[in-house]
Amino acid sequence: MERIKKFSTFTIIEHAIAMVTFLILAVTGLIQRYHDLEISKNLIIFLGGIDMVRIIHRSVGLIFSFEVLLHILAGAVSLYRGVEPQILITGRDFKDAIHNIKYYLGFESKPAATGLFTYRQKFEYWGIVTGSIIMSITGLILKYPVDTTKILPGILIPASKIIHTNHALIIVIIMLWHIYNAIFNPEVFPLNKSIFTGYVEGSKNIIIKKL
């Protein structure tokens, strides 16, 4: 069985940081958004009160924002070095998506052939990356409303609140999809380990390009 290097050590570490911080942010954020629920109340009390929940959410949010910034910088450096990006969405990915849905419905005999990343992974990735940028910016605005309004209009605060609370849900949904694809998907169940090991088993995916 051919083992192909898919993720660099740097990416593996990035994923681990993102995974942990995201989990904390999702929990401490959701209980704030749905504070009326009994489970939220219990969790808030368990974590030491709403003030403590906010301290955790904001501190971890800062770490997460740094990670987002680091990821963008690393991507920029790679591009500068002339590394060909594998994760960009191309016209082919949309064709793949349509092809796959046809396949699911029985109009095609085989699933779409795929590159290093499937169209699902690419959409997940970009959903998460754009979402994280949006969440980081609006999060910072909400954390520093007084400083923000020294240079920007005040309406940005409630606007950020709407974006932050709603976009959080979109990211959570994408993340649920990601969890399905990486864990519960019958083809990879119980776990697609590639993000932890860095390698993919050659037989599982049809590889067109190698690293």
Binding site: I44, I50, Y104, R120, G154, I162, I163, N185, E187
Partner: protein, 464 residues
């Protein structure tokens, strides 16, 4: 034996206090004698026991013997014992007017004879210090019995020298909400056969003790009051803290709620500075100028009996509830064209959400890290006034309020509060569009990804 002596002393000591005037120094001793010009004499000893059992037991010597001022015993001469009796019987008429005496049919004849020159001293029938009714009076009701003395301008004197009138106006009783009660319903322990003598240091002590009477019927209010800041102050020795009768009065007790301004004025007696601020507020002006009865007065926010310290976090956290009692009620707000959305929009915003979570976590003794802005922080407390009608004025006023908690706030900062209007297309188009986008985007994302997963699983199952 010692115990017996102590008991005798204890029974008699109030009486010795009562007759502490110099009179009794001499008149309680055997051998005090009065001599008359005709050579006759009379025992001038006053039997204290007899006096105690008389209807005048609550009177002081000087209340009858008015010509004997303190510190001086006038030398007077009487021709005979008969002359003495006639003269002293005139003392009775200082309280019991001739009309009152004549009103009793038995006295009619005596008055006729008196005009003819035949005197009938009162003491012949009624006795002197041991004066008692000649026959047992049958009163129509208890009030009449008590009022037979208490309609007179009687006074009681406290240890510190203060006095208080114990004259009771029948009209006051009849106009009060307690008009159907008898005297002893409140003045427990007093009756036609019992009139305990009590001693109080001061007028205030007497008032405070008298307020204890109320709880025998109004126990619920008493319990509430015992949780109030006034009661706490009283317990700390601040005797000026109000008790029942300071606010409600006593014999002329009326319903409190007839006119709201009257309630405010009762509080004003002690809290005049607050009252002065209140009457200039939107609520106060409506109450004074328009006699508006919808506006809150003191007790609507502070409650009447279990008045809590308004400076505590507990009280502060209840303020939105207090305001919402009226400001969420369309039946009141519609009259004045005011929005009932104020509380909902407050609770949907950062301050409101935080406050409601603070309230929930309070059960677990988790204290808030800082006070949250509530209605009064922006709108004021006793000085609640309109925030303004022009946008610029509102913004200026609001910014001042923001800066009391966020001192660095710039002019833009107050725009972060979209006021109590909520999100709408005219006032906040940006928020309106964002809200709409997510209302579409969220369900689309959920549906799209759910379809992907379901189809994928379905295909996998079919292939197997």
């Amino acid at each position: 034996m010692k115990i017996l002596l102590v008991m005798i002393f204890l029974t008699l000591w109030p009486y010795t206090l009562f007759s502490s005037e110099e009179c009794m120094d001499c008149h309680s001793k055997k051998g005090a004698v009065i001599h008359f010009e005709d050579g006759g004499s009379m025992d001038a000893t006053v039997d204290q026991e007899e006096l105690r059992l008389s209807v005048h037991s609550n009177l002081q010597c000087r209340d009858c013997h008015r010509d004997k001022p303190e510190g001086r015993h006038p030398e007077r001469r009487f021709k005979s014992r008969g002359h003495f009796k006639i003269k002293t019987s005139h003392l009775c008429r200082t309280c019991h007017s001739p009309q009152e005496i004549k009103a009793k049919s038995i006295h009619e004849e005596l008055f006729i004879e008196e005009e003819k020159g035949i005197a009938h001293p009162c003491t012949n029938c009624h006795g002197s210090h041991g004066v008692k009714p000649t026959r047992k009076k049958v009163y129509r009701d208890e009030d009449l019995y008590c009022l037979s003395c208490h309609k007179k301008p009687l006074k009681i004197r406290f240890k510190n020298g203060e006095t208080i009138s114990i004259k009771v106006e029948r009209t006051h009783l009849e106009s009060s909400v307690h008009r159907n009660l008898g005297c002893s319903d409140c003045h427990f322990g007093f009756s036609s056969t019992s009139h305990p003598v009590r001693y109080f240091k001061s007028r205030r002590d007497y008032t405070i003790a008298s307020s204890e009477i109320c709880r025998r019927c109004h126990f619920d209010k008493y319990v509430k009051t015992s949780e109030s800041i006034h009661y706490t102050l009283l317990n700390m020795g601040r005797l000026e803290a109000p008790v029942c009768i300071d606010c409600h009065g006593f014999h002329s007790i009326q319903h409190m709620g007839r006119e709201k301004i009257l309630i405010a004025r009762r509080c004003q007696r002690c809290h005049n500075n607050v009252y002065e601020i209140y009457i200039r507020s939107v609520h106060g002006r409506a109450l004074i100028d328009e006699k508006n009865q919808d506006v809150p007065v003191c007790i609507d926010c502070h409650t009447a009996h279990d008045i809590k310290d308004p400076l505590t976090t507990d009280y502060r956290e209840r303020i939105p509830d207090i305001c919402s009692r009226c400001h969420s009620d369309p039946s009141i707000m519609n009259k004045y064209g005011l929005s009932t959305d104020v509380i909902r929009t407050y609770l949907a915003d950062f301050h409101g959400i935080t406050l409601s979570i603070y309230r929930k976590q309070k059960e677990e003794r988790l204290q808030p890290s800082k006070p949250m802005a509530v209605c009064t922080d922006c709108h004021g407390t006793h000085d609640i006034s309109s925030m303004g009608i022009q946008k610029e004025v509102i913004k200026k006023n609001l910014l001042k309020k923001c800066r009391s908690c966020h001192p660095d706030a710039s002019e833009n900062f107050s725009d972060a509060w979209i006021s109590h209007y909520g999100i709408n297309s005219k006032r906040t188009p940006l928020l309106y569009i964002l809200d709409k986008i997510y209302r579409v985007l969220l369900p689309l994302t959920i549906a799209g990804l759910a379809v992907q997963i379901v189809l994928h699983i379905w295909r996998y199952a079919v292939n197997r």
